[in-house]
Point group: C2
């Protein structure tokens, strides 16, 4: 008797000896399985598949155990690629107080960061270090040589173009870091200068356009590691990564674009024809990135906090009139964090919804036929009660998640 | 008049209008250069190359400006791949006090982490939270859902095999995280059980062996993203990454290997033949990872702190007799950090040495012929003086680096 893919099937045995029933950790090593493993007996019915293995183990697989997952959520296939006009009816945004109070608002904001690459929180108190609180509402601050947070404002002797009043072209941050911070937060404390507007470009969209219009150029950028560097008195960071990073199947997974931090002298090692092909592709991609229709422009007001995917979105600003004692000022505080924790927080939030969905499905199926017979069913009663309870402020037992508790009790930055 | 690769050359103009002389930030965008850029005049001599460009700009490139960089330091090409016997004469290790006091010790330790994938610090006080101090001596702690640090010891109701007394096979940590923590620290506070020894395997070496012995299997692992997952009450982390990660040119750049956290049910989306090929390759790789000659075994004693590259090395432990009130105990504290900051700290440390090397080269060349004529030259005098000063405790002006200062003043965990 045979089953297809015996090692895959055996690897996924869900019994309590093979997987920890709580966390799902697998309790054996792939090499523990004998060579020549086969099924000696199988039975399949509506409840699933039962297999007795040649090593004596018995497995039961409930129907649907092997439902294919969605696409890797970090690649273009799980994203909504956009251009500026797609946000004509408004940006993905929420009020900070509502975000803190309402799991649905919170779910919507975090989902927008994953899908569109950004979201805007309004009404975050325009106070120093609040940006850390925002980061800790869904994850963990990634400390760097710039500190836990950094100030974006005009400095007298700037080491970085960011700390002047000059325009900054669309770019991703910290390309010289590996692992690059996957999320950036920018919290506006003051912005009463003339100018100093913000811009965002969907780097995945720009890369997809390049692939459509010049597949050879796209391939050159995906296969050429580019050296990036940042250097100051106490720091010397280097990373070598392509401008367009692909997953092993060729899907766009990361864009790293920052003219200021390239250290392309080291590309001298490239084959001469490849070097010219790289520059032609680089210039072509740079031109797409600057297309006006791709750039979403808006203005950050005090209390606005932008959360953006730094592996995908490029951010920019227009020049502004710097404060001179009589005029206005522009001051943002920023920090870095990571997508994996944001995604985890979102998945835990959705468990609450998933329970309601499951209940609804249950009562819409056999249950409703068996037990219910009125215009407003018992199921509808239950779901309405749940919705009313939520509206009245009831929270699922798992709310708030641990990372949120920590930030709420510590009130400000700092470890324990 | 033409020069080869005009855009590459122009992109690397080192003048103060094109690059910030301090940090090296490039001050123009690649798209600012005109189409059809050419050189209208060039002159080359021993001092370098001078070019007048068709856009009017003038560039001077000092000789050697385009020296090719070494290999990407994160790939196999920059590593010393090893097996256990290579450390027959001892592990890369240093005394914690010497490491703190002496930049050369520090350089050696950090270089070993990059080259061999690990180093051992001895004599780190066996006190709680000291592991954070070690991480902050070269970089920044990566906080996760496990906290700033985690305790590895027997727990009454363990959610993870790590918190039992069972043996743990070689694995990388947190494969379900993306970005994965690139460094792990393990600080031994107590280890007086029978058993509980540590093991390390060079994952790059294992991957290189697979490539040598079964190139097709290697290719399958490099092209198949594997879903990993960790789930508990407040956390649901997922990542999809191949077991062997390559750079765009095919060099080994990351190994992610952890039987416990795979969620391979989702591989149902693979082509059937590919699914079987994946399992055959996975089992073959797993068998190589378990080869005794690859595994370096040693025992952590209280005060030992292991620093290891979690993108490359697999770590393991043997089973032990858990403490029962009468017997011994085993207690490690661990934390995560990242390679980029470690590498930056090393590069800054090496600037000190580089200055001495430059001086030495200068006086061994023309200088020595022109000014010196005695058995012990002026150059030798200077270098001896520098060596004596260093031995007497003198420090270069950039010592200690900022990250070290912070940890020294704050004394323990926590932000500013």
């Amino acid at each position: 008797m045979s089953v297809p893919h015996p090692y895959w099937l055996r690897d996924n045995c869900p019994c309590a000896d093979c997987r920890d029933p709580r966390g799902g950790q697998k309790l054996f090593r792939i090499g523990d399985l004998p060579d020549g493993l086969t099924a000696v007996e199988t039975a399949e019915d509506a409840a699933g598949l039962t297999v007795r293995w040649s090593d004596g183990h018995r497995s039961h697989y409930p129907a649907g155990w092997d439902a294919p997952a969605g696409p890797d959520e970090r690649t273009e296939h799980a994203k909504r690629l956009w251009q500026a006009a797609d946000f004509a009816r408004g940006l993905p945004e929420a009020d900070w107080a509502a975000y803190l109070a309402d799991p649905e608002e919170r779910t919507a904001v975090l989902a927008a960061v994953l899908r569109s690459g950004f979201a805007l929180l309004r009404g975050v108190p325009a106070e120093e270090r609040r940006v850390l609180r925002v980061a800790r509402s869904f994850g963990y601050v990634r400390e760097t040589n710039y500190g836990e947070l950094f100030d974006v404002r005009v400095e007298p002797d700037p080491a970085n173009l960011a700390f002047t009043s000059a325009a900054i072209a669309p770019h991703t941050d910290n390309p010289y870091r590996d692992p690059v911070p996957t999320l950036q937060l920018l919290h506006c404390l003051r912005n009463d200068c003339a100018g100093g507007d913000s811009g965002l470009v969907d780097g995945f969209r720009a890369a997809a356009l390049l692939r459509e219009q010049d597949p050879a150029a796209f391939a050159v950028l995906a296969r050429t590691p580019v050296p990036f560097r940042y250097r100051d008195r106490g720091t010397e960071l280097t990373a070598e990564r392509p401008l367009i990073g692909l997953d092993p199947r060729g899907a766009i997974r990361e864009v790293r674009f920052n003219d200021r931090s390239t250290r392309t002298a080291a590309l001298s090692a490239l084959d001469p024809a490849e070097l010219d092909a790289f520059y032609a592709a680089y210039r072509r991609f740079a031109a797409i990135v600057l297309r006006p229709e791709l750039r979403l422009d808006f203005r950050l007001a005090p209390g606005d906090c932008l959360v953006l995917d730094n592996t995908r979105l490029l951010h920019a600003r227009t020049a502004f009139e710097p404060g001179d004692g009589t005029g206005g000022h522009r001051h943002l505080q920023g920090c870095y964090a990571d997508l994996d924790s944001l995604s985890s927080t979102l998945a835990v939030l959705r468990r609450g919804t998933a329970v309601l969905d499951e209940l609804e499905a249950l009562f819409e199926g056999e249950g409703s036929g068996e037990y219910l017979g009125e215009a407003v069913t018992l199921a509808a009663h239950m779901l309405q009660a749940a919705a009313l309870a939520r509206a009245a402020g009831a929270r699922p037992p798992w709310w708030p998640p641990p990372c949120c508790t920590t930030s709420a009790t510590s009130g400000a930055a700092g470890g324990s």
